[in-house]
């Protein structure tokens, strides 16, 4: 296939009237990749923390996610139980090995059964921990790993996602900064999911319906910290 690669690249250079060795072009590309300049960042998300949280919740609810705000991580298990009860769901969730979730007082919910690991097709509800949320569009950001397996985000009927208030940012760009801090420049986890509301489709007569292939419901628990 390397022949095809050289042929395609050579054709591009010929069409553009450029030579492969052109140092100025290479420098321009290397520079942009290194600097990763920000473009237009909407003012909408540029708020103080309290207003940012408000906007995040408002935008998420506008795309049919439900949002609960709790005072501390200790209140999360109770909120999960309450959500399941309200939706007539069995007291059972699946979650990954996320240390922040593990540190929460699940023992306080003795009826709640907790399965661990990646999701199965039969899971009705899962809990995962987001690395952050973007206020400008109410978007959650989750990354793959044994902490929060990606299947948890897609297979259940109800996806419960926990996010710390201090991890809410105004814009996508701030998330990329954080990913670079965690993983290094140019390195990514296998999957990064930006999730904005529950699954939906309008493929039948352009009528919007929730719960196409992914979760029918997305419940976001925002934890004050």
């Amino acid at each position: 296939m390397s022949d095809a690669r050289s042929a395609i690249l050579a054709r591009m250079r010929a069409s553009l009237g450029q030579r492969a060795e052109d140092a100025a072009r290479r420098a321009a590309v290397a520079d942009r990749l290194q600097r990763a300049p920000r473009g237009i960042v909407p003012q909408r998300g540029q708020l103080d923390p309290a207003a940012r949280t408000e906007l995040f919740c408002k935008m998420a609810e506008a795309v049919q996610a439900s949002v609960a705000r709790v005072a501390s991580a200790a209140a999360v298990p109770g909120e999960v139980s309450a959500y399941l009860k309200t939706h007539n769901l069995p007291a059972r969730v699946r979650m990954g090995a996320d240390a922040r979730l593990a540190a929460m007082p699940w023992a306080g919910e003795p009826h709640l059964e907790i399965a661990s690991g990646r999701a199965e097709g039969s899971d009705l509800a899962t809990v995962s921990h987001a690395i952050g949320g973007v206020a400008e569009t109410g978007t959650l950001v989750l990354t793959a790993g044994s902490d929060n397996p990606t299947t948890l985000n897609f297979l259940p009927e109800h996806h419960i996602a926990v996010v710390r208030e201090s991890d809410l940012v105004g814009d996508y760009e701030s998330i990329w900064d954080r990913l670079r801090q965690i993983h290094g420049k140019g390195v990514m986890p296998r999957t990064v999911n930006m999730i904005t509301g529950p699954s939906r489709s309008a493929d039948i007569e352009q009528t919007l319906l929730l719960g196409a292939h992914g979760p029918r419901a997305l419940h976001i628990i925002v934890v004050a910290d």
């Binding site: 553009l16 793959a144 790993g145």
Partner: protein
């Protein structure tokens, strides 16, 4: 895919006579336009973002070879494989090769126009690999043996009752007496049927909305979540993407993301924007063990540096067709190949030849609505005109049209002769039309008078009246 673009006129007539289609097309007008306008208006920076998105792609296209090299290096560094396909045949062979190496019998597919472009499904079927479309719209048209009629709403030409018929015909394992009246029940049925397919599939194939050179990531943007299940459940994930999908950085992707969903469906953001980088890591409990990217050229390298280069900025949002009066009238299938509407009218001749697709750039009123909503500010009418220029210079347009144009140009370039001739012609025409003020039919004007009356001229030409007035003054 069989090309019927040369029969555009017949296709269009059939589409206009198809009542069910006409009903469905009403959903395009009501379903997209207002939502886009609202989403655009709600973001003060929207117009600036369109400029920024355009500039990013222009920069990429001027350095496309280098960004692809950088991207491919990153994919390989993260453990993925990159395959370069010069044309559709190459791409099909590469994908089949991976299927054979994995002994794959079933592949699930996320929605991908590129796999339509390369005719992947039919090819896989010929080679005993079963492709299963998982996007609801794609699934519906796969059941119907059709092709997408819209690049983001593939089944927009189908009505609910037709979907119900198809589901009853194909899902024979389900209770024939079940109630499928509500769209939600149709959706639930498709969800349940496809759930099993994700787990059974050996390979998942998706397209890509972006390829990020900085990280070697492929990005899909979807609402249903089917693309994600397609790419995390099977052991192998194949991404098929055309070369112009590459962007430099995550920041650049973010600029374009901000205009993509707003232009397409009027959402601020689609539900799932997923960045995939390489195969799963040793510690990951889920995700594919193998990750392949097939980079398709298929004529795009030749568009660089040409008057059609700007078309490579297209991000396939569908806004142009959503706002096109011609698309509203005839739907997507009339265009006769993969890409309909204004973007198809420009891109299709590049990919299958203007001799085949010559009607497409002509079937436009140049109303400019497509360009006014294109998030990437692609001058679509201008490029359709460029195709007309190519057709004209290659004598591809009909002889009668060329003759008429030549005759008209002869007069138009000779004002004195023109005014004398028109004085006579208009004098005659206005006398003939004086009684009713219009013509219901007229020789040589059948194209006009078949559907509408031709208003009669008032009398002498303006120039004649003006000259007379000046003389008497």
């Amino acid at each position: 895919m069989h090309i019927t673009s040369p029969a555009f006129k017949d296709n269009a007539r059939a589409a206009l006579d198809d009542d069910a289609l006409q009903r469905a097309l009403g959903n395009v007008r009501s379903g997209f336009i207002g939502k886009r306008a609202k989403a655009a208006a709600a973001l003060p920076e929207f117009e600036q973002l369109r400029d920024a998105a355009r500039d990013i792609k222009d920069h990429v296209l001027a350095h496309l070879d280098l960004y692809l090299e950088a991207y491919a290096d990153k994919v390989e560094a993260s453990g993925g494989h990159v395959h370069w396909a010069q044309d559709a045949e190459d791409a099909r062979r590469i994908i089949l090769g991976i299927c054979e190496a994995k002994k794959a019998r079933t592949v699930t597919k996320g929605k991908s126009m590129i796999t339509e472009e390369i005719g992947l499904n039919a090819f896989l079927e010929e080679h005993a690999v079963t492709p299963v479309e998982t996007d609801l719209g794609e699934y519906i048209i796969q059941l119907r043996g059709e092709h997408p009629s819209h690049i983001i709403a593939p089944a927009v030409h189908v009505n609910k009752d037709q979907v119900e018929e198809d589901f009853r015909r194909v899902h024979t394992h389900l209770d024939p007496a079940r109630n499928l009246e509500e769209p939600t029940t149709l959706l639930s049925e498709a969800r349940a049927v496809l759930r099993d397919k994700y787990f059974q599939a050996d390979i998942g194939i998706t397209g890509a909305n972006f390829l990020v050179a900085e990280t070697g990531s492929s990005i899909i943007v979807t609402n249903e979540g089917n693309g994600d299940l397609t790419q995390i459940l099977p052991k192998t994930h194949i991404v098929v993407a055309s070369v112009e999908k590459v962007v430099p950085t995550l920041e650049d992707m973010s600029q374009i993301l901000r205009v993509l969903a707003r232009s397409a469906t009027g959402q601020d953001m689609s539900v799932y924007t997923t960045l995939s980088t390489g195969p799963k890591r040793p510690e990951d409990p889920d995700g594919p063990e193998d990750y392949h990217v097939v980079l398709l050229d298929n004529g795009r390298s030749a568009m660089l540096g040409s008057e059609f280069q700007e078309m490579l900025r297209c991000i396939r949002c569908g806004a142009c067709m959503n706002h096109c009066p011609v698309y509203h009238a005839v739907g997507g299938h009339a265009y006769g190949w993969v890409y309909p509407g204004p973007m198809g009218a420009v891109l299709t001749p590049s990919l299958i030849g203007v001799d085949q697709a010559g009607h497409l750039p002509n079937a436009s009123t140049f109303c400019g609505r497509c360009e006014s909503v294109c998030p990437m500010r692609i001058p679509l009418p201008k490029m359709m005109r460029h195709w007309r220029e190519r057709e004209f210079s290659r004598n591809l347009n009909p002889a009668a049209a060329r003759y008429g144009l030549g005759l008209w140009a002869f007069f138009a370039k000779r004002p004195a002769v023109y005014h004398a001739a028109m004085r006579l012609a208009i004098g005659t025409l206005s006398r003939l039309g004086r009684r009713s003020g219009r013509f219901a039919s007229l020789p040589f004007a059948g194209g006009w008078t078949r559907f509408r009356d031709l208003p009669a001229p008032q009398g002498a030409t303006f120039q004649a009246q003006w000259a007379k007035k000046r003389k008497s003054a």
